[in-house]
């Protein structure tokens, strides 16, 4: 395999707030190969978005970041704002959840794309204009010449998200991070946007890091899935392997909680009680232990490390679920 594009080692992010310290990310390691599609899934507060922001260098100054994030061998943690601005756009670009909030409502769509293009590429105005129209065409916006001169409010949610993707891809970044990029969209639009992202990824060879709360979505589109809980990665596997062979009880619980079309009506979903732990109080042992159906004494004492137990399958659990019979 080629050298990894992105290497994250022992990343920790802490926030100070009102006297307490919130440990949002508690030591995660992962790498992304060029052209790979990796999904990070987890609930609100699991640290998935904070991790993505750390990779982009977008965390606020109040965040204390430690560990290492190497992009093409270059360390990102500790870079100055100017160097980070070059890092964003050229190396990595991000698509956010809410297209309404990511676009400037007072600027025409075309101007917002050319702004990104001219910030990073040495192009003249007419050349940048041409490139912007080309980008609009690339994200399959009909009549790109006309849309260039329209304002965000004249576009539908799906179209706006396409514009955001066009801006993100303006400088052909090596890594595209999609943070809940389709969560605010309808299912049919979601399918359109996901297919677009995968097509573009194939065309341009961009690596895609999907951040989502939706396990089903991640499984349908990503090659590899990482599950985060309380600031740690608890399971990582190829999407195709993970779903037949879940080992971490938390992933099992997530999977079981998804309503599925092949279940009969009025069947109760198997659910676990409780809530994710408070990240300002660090407790010993596995963070999932208080909610885990298979919890034993050692789970409450020592944090299980994320280890590779099978080919391409990592999990962090002392007492993993039994291997399921192939169905």
């Amino acid at each position: 395999m080629a050298d990894p594009l992105l290497e994250v080692c022992d990343l920790r992010v802490r926030f100070r707030s009102r006297g307490s310290v919130v440990h949002a990310v508690q030591g995660i390691d992962f790498s992304v190969e060029p052209g790979q599609t990796l999904a990070i899934i987890g609930e609100s507060g699991s640290g998935k978005t904070v991790s993505a922001y750390a990779v982009m260098g977008l965390l606020p100054p109040t965040a204390q970041v430690s560990g290492s994030i190497r992009f093409k061998g270059v360390e990102v943690v500790g870079l100055g704002e100017k160097a980070l601005q070059d890092h964003r756009g050229r190396n990595a670009a991000m698509v956010f959840q809410n297209p309404e909030r990511s676009l400037n409502p007072t600027m025409k769509v075309g101007a917002q794309i050319t702004e990104a293009v001219r910030r990073h590429l040495p192009l003249s105005r007419p050349q940048a204009h041409e490139r912007a129209v080309e980008l609009l065409r690339m994200v399959r916006i009909p009549a790109p010449q006309r849309r260039f001169h329209e304002y965000p409010h004249q576009l539908s949610g799906g179209m706006r998200q396409r514009v955001i993707i066009a801006i993100a891809l303006a400088c052909e970044p090596a890594l595209l991070i999609a943070d809940e990029a389709t969560t605010a969209l309808d299912v049919t639009t979601q399918a359109q946007i996901m297919n677009l992202l995968l097509d573009l990824q194939q065309e341009l060879g961009t690596a895609l890091l999907m951040i989502s709360h939706d396990l089903a979505l991640a499984a349908s589109y990503a090659e590899e899935v990482m599950v985060m809980y309380a600031g740690r990665i608890v399971e990582r596997a190829r999407a195709a392997d993970l779903f037949g062979n879940v080992r971490m009880p938390y992933t099992r619980a997530l999977l079981d909680a998804i309503p599925r079309t092949d279940l009969e009506p009025h069947v109760l979903l198997p659910v676990i009680g409780g809530r994710p732990p408070d990240l300002s109080a660090v407790m010993p042992g596995c963070a999932f232990a208080p909610r885990c159906p298979d919890v034993r004494q050692d789970c409450r004492e020592v944090v299980p490390p994320l280890e590779r137990h099978e080919m391409d399958h990592w999990w962090a659990c002392w007492h993993p679920c039994a291997k399921e019979a192939a169905s």
């Binding site: 309808d186 779903f243 909680a257 069947v267």
Partner: protein
């Protein structure tokens, strides 16, 4: 009693709610108040909801599903049509006459935080409907509130004195459900009640809805954009597109043998966690955008995005008609029949279904 002739044939005896030819329109205003156009948000929708039944209503943004629910509770009343609840047509009732009806007809909204008063305690929020209807003494009310909080899985001693901002999303939604239940309604309209919740909490709240349904023999009108979730809770499902009903029928038939091309497209867009079923081919994904509701397409409103559309679809609006299994209605000139090679989950069930029993 109602003065309205039912219209459709399926007006059952045990109907709790009958909606007949409901139309809801909004007049858009340009600058200076000039009439800017009429937006028909719900166009000629009819359905029944039987006692003890859950009817799921599925549609995307702009399909009119929320407007439909609001029209049912008369907020605001629809422009045309009838909403017959327990034998009384609610359309045109005075505010005073509506009040006793609202006891039996409650609503749970999508965002619990915007539907709960941030300055009130949980106990006061849940007790408010009792106070509004002057039911019971203060002590009685407190008792009732506590038992309801218990029922929805919140310890009254811990949560009763909290305010909404001290609750998580799931807990706040439980409070909203308790408030809806406190008057012992017959029907609860749920508008995307779990969409803003994390998947594990969502499952907890869905299970709560199920538990309450069986314990209190409630009926639900359950609105959601998520077909998989609707399947979990519903007996029957109605699919809406751009203000019109496309298809309505028993859950099993809708999901195994969808008749309307739009329903199939929606089903095909659901991501599935099982990689064996995952990754739909791109060509099953519906293309294009929702047309403007101000200027909906002539004839069938889905025709501009429909792979099966023909000339007839542009000239003639398809009427709801029974097709296939019992109680399965579809508004399509060229429905997908059971014998068609339906892709994916329907699989290879080539039941010899006669093409169409028209009318």
């Amino acid at each position: 009693m109602t003065g309205h002739a039912g219209g459709t044939a399926t007006a059952g005896q045990g109907s709790l709610l009958e909606v007949r030819h409901l139309v809801q329109e909004f007049v858009l205003r340009d600058y200076g108040g000039a009439k800017g156009g009429v937006l028909q948000a719900v166009a000629d929708v009819s359905f029944d909801l039987r006692t003890g039944e859950t009817l799921g209503i599925v549609g995307e943004t702009g399909s009119g599903k929320s407007t439909l629910a609001r029209s049912v509770i008369q907020a605001p009343p629809p422009k045309h049509g009838a909403v017959i609840f327990q034998g009384t047509d609610l359309v045109g009732l005075s505010h005073r006459a509506m009040k006793p009806v609202r006891r039996d007809l409650q609503m749970v909204f999508q965002d619990p935080f915007t539907s709960l008063d941030p300055r009130w305690t949980v106990s006061r929020i849940v007790a408010e409907p009792l106070a509004a209807y002057a039911i019971g003494s203060r002590a009685n009310r407190r008792e009732r509130v506590n038992s309801l909080l218990d029922l929805v899985g919140l310890d009254p001693a811990t949560y009763g004195s909290r305010r909404p901002r001290e609750l998580s999303g799931g807990q706040a939604q439980r409070v909203a459900i308790a408030r809806a239940l406190v008057l012992e309604p017959k029907l609860i309209l749920c508008d995307e009640p779990v969409s803003s919740l994390d998947v594990l909490v969502q499952a907890q709240v869905l299970n709560l809805f199920e538990k309450l349904r069986s314990e209190l023999s409630l009926s639900y009108l359950f609105i959601a954009h998520d077909l998989a979730m609707v399947r979990q809770v519903s007996d029957r499902v109605a699919v809406m597109y751009l203000g019109r009903l496309c298809e309505i029928g028993p859950v099993r038939d809708i999901y195994r043998r969808p008749l309307h091309p739009y329903t199939l497209a929606l089903l095909d867009s659901i991501p599935n966690p099982d990689p064996a079923v995952a990754r739909r081919e791109a060509d099953h994904v519906i293309s294009g955008e929702l047309p403007s509701p101000l200027d909906p397409p002539s004839g069938c409103r889905f025709r501009t995005r429909c792979p099966r559309a023909q000339e007839l679809c542009a000239t003639q609006t398809p009427e709801m008609r029974p097709l296939g299994a019992d109680g399965h209605l579809v508004a399509c000139h060229f429905p997908l029949s059971g014998a068609a090679p339906a892709p994916a989950p329907a699989g290879a069930q080539a039941d010899a279904e006669p093409a169409a029993v028209k009318r």
